[in-house]
């Protein structure tokens, strides 16, 4: 944890409260329909509205509720929906007050209970923006692999949506840092779509272990309010032999993972903090932009440093390895503050708003649901079948070994080979399993030949 015991104690007490406050105040967890605010919106509906123009070109209209040196809280109004949102002044180009005449909105809900989802998203509406939402659930390297992801992206791109949203709730197989290799293998599918001109957005609920690295190739990331990115373990524990060889292995892994972060435009220093317990990472904000140091802040470094990770030694050692700051796991609040996440949203409506698409959009999940679910079910079934067939093979091996039994073993092995071929990217990427099966079949055939020879 933190360097001083007092700070540690304070941190434990205040961290959840501060995190909650920050999540509310820091900026735009996108407006959610809140019944209490509809009345407010209606009450002010006839007065001219204010306008904020963000540096990214986004124009927000609504009512400025409060303003400090660093941020502006605004009751944002889009269509009939209004909700408070807070914007950092570092992102604001201008604030114009009373410049927008309110327009009577026929879509304004007639009662506080009206849902913004009332529109039927399943029907195509001329002029409506199109969001292709792809849900990646499971483990990268197992349920989430090249074939289904490529198919899902192909389907998404064929639909030519305004944005492809990849909702991620995933870990990796294998667990830990080495799940990164699976993520790296999938990364070109994402970057190909981006390079082809498609807007790809990752929306993260859980990006754990190797799955933490996949979203980093994408410049647009949003988090759910309980979203997490990290949990990759501690590479410093890597042990394949002598220390120097371990250092080599750690170094090359960090190099690969940093490359993924650089691809998406993220600070590569985050990777070492995510992956190595001994690494310090502290951040402060200057002009709204994060500034990092990779050592424990010293007096000469100035003020306002937040320690994202300490060295995890002695008094800094976390009590619970998954909850502390020995290695970096980004929650929604910090992801947003350091610019990894562009926003924090919990519903697709909110995400559409954040993407500047507004309320009038279509959710076109297309075939991705069936592609991904079907693959997931089939690969899980294949794993069970392989286990069963393997057991069957073991039992057969203990039997009498007559020609008929040996023939059945060959049949079992052929079934296994078919499964390895069908799901080679998951179970047999290098073809070794199938090669071994071919050898086993040859061995059985030789035994049959030997038996026949003895009979003669």
């Amino acid at each position: 944890m933190r360097s001083s015991p007092t700070a540690r104690l304070n941190h434990r007490i205040w961290a959840p409260i501060l995190a909650l406050a920050a999540a509310i105040l820091a900026y735009s967890p996108a407006p959610r329909p809140a019944p209490a605010f509809f009345a407010t919106a209606a009450a002010v509906a006839d007065e001219p509205l204010d306008r904020i123009i963000l540096k990214n070109g986004q124009v927000i209209e609504g009512r400025v509720l409060s303003e400090t040196d660093t941020q502006v809280e605004m009751l944002v109004m889009v269509g009939g929906i209004s909700a408070p949102a807070t914007y950092s002044k570092s992102n604001i180009l201008s604030i114009e007050r009373g410049v927008v005449q309110p327009v009577a909105d026929s879509r304004r809900p007639s009662s506080p209970s009206a849902s913004p989802r009332a529109t039927d998203r399943s029907e195509s509406r001329p002029g409506a923006a199109r969001l292709y939402v792809m849900r990646l659930n499971g483990n990268i390297g197992f349920e989430i692999s090249k074939t289904p992801l490529r198919q899902a992206f192909d389907d998404a791109m064929a639909s030519n949506p305004d944005a492809i949203v990849v909702r991620l709730d995933a870990g990796s197989f294998p667990e830990g840092f080495d799940g990164m290799w699976g993520a790296e293998a999938l990364a070109p599918i994402v970057t190909d779509a981006i390079n082809a001109g498609h807007r790809v957005v990752f929306w993260i609920k859980r990006a754990e272990a190797g799955a933490a690295f996949l979203p980093l190739v994408c410049p647009e990331i949003y988090f759910t309010s309980d979203g997490r990115l990290g949990g990759v373990g501690d590479l410093a524990d890597f042990n394949v032999g002598e220390d120097v060889v371990n250092l080599k292995q750690i170094s090359l892994r960090i190099g690969h993972a940093e490359g993924l972060a650089i691809t998406g435009g993220y600070e590569p220093k985050l990777i070492r903090a995510m992956s190595l317990k001994p690494e310090w990472l502290a951040v402060r904000f200057r002009g709204g932009a994060p500034e990092y140091i990779t050592w424990e802040p010293r007096p000469e470094d100035g003020d306002d440093w937040h320690i994202l990770t300490d060295n995890g030694e002695g008094k800094n050692k976390d009590e619970f390895s998954f909850e502390g700051n020995d290695v970096l796991t980004l929650n929604a609040d910090w992801a947003f503050r350091i610019g990894v996440a562009r926003g924090v949203v919990d519903t697709i409506d909110d995400l559409a708003f954040e993407l500047n698409i507004g309320r009038d959009y279509e959710d076109i999940s297309g075939r991705s649901v069936s592609i991904l679910n079907s693959w997931r079910d089939r690969v899980r079934r294949a794993r069970t079948q392989l286990q069963d067939l393997n057991e069957e093979l073991g039992q057969a091996g203990r039997g009498r070994g007559d020609a008929a039994a040996l023939g059945r073993q060959i049949n079992t092995l052929r079934q296994m080979r078919s499964l390895y071929t069908a799901f080679e990217e998951v179970f047999d990427a290098d073809g070794v399993q199938r090669s071994q099966i071919d050898i086993q079949i040859e061995d059985i055939r030789q035994r049959i030949r030997d038996a026949n020879r003895r009979r003669r």
Binding site: G57, V244, Q249, S251, L252, H256, T263, I439, R449
Partner: protein, 421 residues
Amino acid sequence: MTMKNRFFTAILAVLASLLLAASSFADDRVHLKDGRVLEGTISREGDTFLYITYFMGTVERTELVLKANIARIERDADNSTPAPADTPVPARPAAEPAADRTSARPASPASPDARRIAFISLEEMVGPFMNAGALRRSIDLLESDDPDIVVLVINSGGGAADEVQKLSDAIQNHIKPKYRVVAWIKSAISAAAMTAWTCEEIYMMPEGNIGAATAFFSQGAGAVAVKGEELEQYFRMMQRISARGNRDPLVMRAMQVPTNLSADIDPATGKVTWRNDLDGQHIVSTANQILTLNSIDSVRFGVARAVAASKDELARHLNVDEWIEVGHDAEKLQVTFREDVKTAQLRAVELLQKMNIALRGGDVARARSFLGQVKGWVRRASSLEEYGAPDFGVPPLNDEFFREVEKQLEQIAEQQRTRRR
């Protein structure tokens, strides 16, 4: 304010915001030290880099730019911000200041001014797959294509250190005398990094990495680092190869063994001076690390000249305005070679085990048949003669190996004949 005034104010405000939104895409201007000015939107920014999205004609591009290469930034077109004072500049500024390198584009084959660029991919394990013999054969195929530039596209996690000298020799003696050689790196780890070190001109893909060149071997208890005289030999080899690539050997040393390494960068010239201590301006590696550089740091410290995400972008960095890709046969040879090696390794392992099964059954003729098939695969994938299938514990499948096996087969056959007599 009258109703009319309010109406016009609102209209003006809307128009103003629309104009602002329309022009927001080109609000940032990044002035590069090579004279280029990129106008667009800075979409991401880190301590040492930024991404800027801009239009080239109707094509949207996003380019990674190191702050070291930036003279100044105009944000929102009215607020000039100089690059941070402590930001280093690259060791080698662009050789030719180009007025507008964004104009690089693939040319039609008929264009007489187009430069001819061959892309040769070097991938997978150094030795069996990334192989000097195969590289030489590819280069031989380039004769009729007459390229101006040969780009070695490297993506390898390393492999046999013994192949490094051969690959370096192939690049130095076989390619450099004829063509301008460029290494374009997706991943160059270990022996692949040592190979790339031969090239004076290294460029990185954004996801690229180079380093981790520690030599080791596997033993029962785990991986063991090479030490003693053997390690000294590798040091000497890399000193020679560093000289070929016009590189300071200290950098490669930090990739091979844990070493303190820091750098001073002359703010005026960009020249990088390396030190094997931690007293330099920038600490690059320490005595408890092995060095692997990512794309940004590679350029920052002058190991690479620039980051290029695409062939077009690479061509721009090479100061090539118009280019055509040549050398397809040479590249096809590499792809086919790797496929053949992969298949041949698996088949050789399988066939040798089948040969043993046949021998267990006393079927020498069948065993010979399997051995003959192994020979066939080795003919298709010549690197098996030297490396066998190291991942599967198969030794080099050279003449000596085959002679020895055939001798044993003959002995078994003779024993069978004796028994029958």
